[in-house]
Symmetry: C3
Subunit: 345 residues, 3 copies
């Protein structure tokens, strides 16, 4: 695709905020690449104040999407390279990637090897791949894509335009909204880990609740979202969850959250809106985490956190305090030595 | 189901220890719910000394299962609400949930899409779902439930009344007891991570051992239990394991343990009976953890732990000590400052 | 197999470095076992300077593979037990395990229930199990083994002698080398976790890159390796990855690394050659970890690490320093108390 065609499309899709552009020799663009690796048939981008800006003059890209800063144009100008300037060049780059390799269109079809049980209702435009199993009385919305090997237990309800990747499993009674993506081998709505100690060992609490994912939720590969004994496990609209994350039974997660890989949220915890949990964070049973909290990686959250806090460490404390404590942690041998010396004196 | 019917059933099943009850207007009960959310067609419960007791007077539940404390009856009495009193109301609640929505009965049947290899022996009453594969010379006990997409490699041996959820995989030679539950996408008996450094890189140690799960073991969704080079990986009777847990090759786990999500137990570790590991705990290679040890979340166990210890932190130390150390960790900047001041003086 | 036959084979396979042997009554060997558990029909081994050497005199093994140390022969000699001496008895033991139970030979066959999509190219000697799905234009090398329930999306390219275990999923465009092993329920090449914050919530960055595994790579059960927005996620030749590991989008891993279970590597990190990461280690976005770095369990790597470093803790510091800091951490209550006393004085 010619760079001029890309620019024309970006004029229509104003998500990145196109401000200006220069076509140079209007290069043919094949795909996107990183600033350091892009070649003369690739487009790249540079974020505002990104550390890669010192690499700009060395880039071999055919075209660059830039933030609105004159210094970059000065550098680029010497190279006679095509460019376009945006309020948010990274957002513009997402559009360009979609122009260059649009998502595959799946036909309306059910592969003959798929097993569709009794009383299933399928919307229009649904693709069902090989070796899928859809249980009794499931309801699948329009334009859903269900890849090979997916299993839906009975009574699952799925909205429109939702995509289920291969070998994920959706358990009985789960309700998924529109435009959700469940990645491969994720498990939604499996029974919560609820056991009561008795003299005869662990007695299982039946897990009769359900799991609900609102619209635009994404669940990463291999992640697990349990259902509770009663009531619901709930993941709010627009929340994005990475791979190998555990969401315990009865957890409520707000809207627009992001949770990185290997996060674990124990049963009954409540997470607000816009919360960001970095990799390997843990949240204890029934803890409340306020709106817009940011927890850095490996953080262990044992008690309620007020909205807007930025926290770190285990147990979690304010990030700024934690940075100072960690700096002193590595000085502990010196601190101990200095103290012994003082004591001797 | 009428509350009177529930009470009658509870008189027979004495697991919760029914002491007394009051039918009020004998409400029709549809299902269970939490104390805060229960409505006039739902039953709920309150545990002894639970923090929810202050919500009791506000509950809209149709009926409440209570511990044996007069104060609760005084509160409830004003509402003319149905109640029953138990030694252990939470245990009684497990029974009630089962009365209200009994487990699905699966018929004795093998779905025509399932592939059963040579010389497989199936017990009576076995359900085998769509797209299952059962390898050569497997032996499946009576009344097992094998959901869609499950794979058993060759020579797997499974007891009676065991349930395998969708897309879990059981590797060659594994032996599962009676009444086990393997949740979706779990992997049992895969080859252990055994490599020897050589000048030509990592040389694989063949993993020729097997994995054994005794009776009443549950394995969570996405969890992995490896087999060893020689001998056995063993999980004792009644042990319950949550989602995304790793059990390394040659690990021995005792009876009646509980391991929360994302626990990792490295190869050759030995865990006693009745051990409780909270979320994201790690246990190092060949460590011995004594009976009834309790490890709090994110604990890192690097050395042997005596029976009955309660431990925390990384490396793990006694929980009480760890609480005091953690409290001082966040005072480290002040400690360092105070020390500098003393040194100046 | 007679011990004399084993010794004869070991003379040919000189991987362990056979030095000497004694057949005693040339016992019949059935399989391998650990030193403590081996019985009179089993062979075992002892590593140099291993803690098990004090158990040597009590072993009931039929035959023992030993390091080149006279003290062991003195102990063994009294028992009239068969033995063989090696430069590396553990390596020799790997050979013996393979002699005693050779890997299963899978026939060239495609199970009738497998679904092979258009324009797939299969090499010779390929085994494809039940309920496998292979997407459009995939290319499978010679002698590959693809177990039941595996899913390959379109355009996957796999080398020779690679084995894919049940229910693993390989996403579109992934390229796997020769002699790779992908264990059960692993996911290769799923879309990276790339989202950009906007006023309308998280905007997905299309993940158009691919994932490449070079020769002799092994990926553990349930592990996930994401593909990036542009370019490649790369795992170098001979790198071994354990169960439930997360490899983020665009990560580059060198050759001959080993990563234990539940390690998480965030997007864009670069790991050198011969790096060893113990269980539950985390590596932050875009960090560079030098060649031959060793990180102990639960380590959190937030900044670049120079080649050859041995690191521990969170944030990661040199292992020796960390050991001293941790020792003082548990003395923090005493340190604080001592400081208060000094301040009073």
């Amino acid at each position: 695709m010619k760079f001029s065609q890309i620019v024309n499309k970006l004029k229509t899709n104003q998500i990145g905020g196109l401000k200006d552009y220069y076509l140079a020799n209007d290069p043919e663009i094949e795909c996107g690449a990183s600033l350091e690796l892009a070649n003369s048939r690739q487009v790249t981008f540079l974020e505002k104040d990104n550390h890669l800006k010192r690499k700009l003059s060395e880039s071999n890209a055919a075209a660059i999407l830039l933030p609105h800063q004159q210094e970059f144009l000065n550098i680029i100008g010497k190279e006679d390279i095509a460019w376009a300037v945006f309020d948010n060049p990274k957002l513009a780059f997402t559009e360009v990637l979609e122009f260059l390799s649009p998502a595959i269109i799946y036909p309306e079809e059910t592969h003959p090897s798929a097993v569709i049980d009794n009383d299933v209702i399928l919307g229009t435009g649904v693709f069902i791949g090989p070796n899928v199993y859809i249980g009794k009385r499931c309801h699948i919305g329009n334009n859903c894509i269900i890849h090979a090997g997916v299993v839906l237990y009975d009574h699952v309800n799925i909205g429109n335009y939702t995509e289920l990747h291969s070998n994920c499993v959706i358990h009985s009674g789960s309700r998924l909204g529109n435009n959700c993506i469940i990645n491969s081998n994720a498990v939604i709505g499996s029974e919560g880990f609820g056991f009561i100690p008795t003299n005869e060992g662990w007695k299982k609490m039946p897990q009769k609740g359900i799991t609900i994912l609102e619209d635009n939720v994404e669940i990463g590969s291999g992640s697990t979202v349990d259902r509770p004994a009663v009531g619901e496990t709930l993941i709010g609209a627009g929340t994005k969850i990475d791979n190998l994350v555990q969401i315990g039974h009865g957890v409520k997660i707000g809207k627009g959250c992001a949770m990185a890989s290997q996060v674990g949220i124990a049963g009954g915890a409540q997470i607000g809106n816009g919360v960001i949990l970095a990799g390997q964070v843990g949240v204890a049973n029934r803890v409340h985490v306020g709106d817009r909290v940011i927890a850095s990686s490996k953080c262990g959250i044992h008690a309620d956190i007020a909205p807007g806090e930025v926290i770190s460490g285990f147990p979690a404390i304010p990030n700024r305090l934690w940075l100072r404590c960690s700096a002193n942690f590595r000085r502990l041998p010196d601190i101990a030595k200095s103290l012994r010396k003082l004591n001797r004196e």
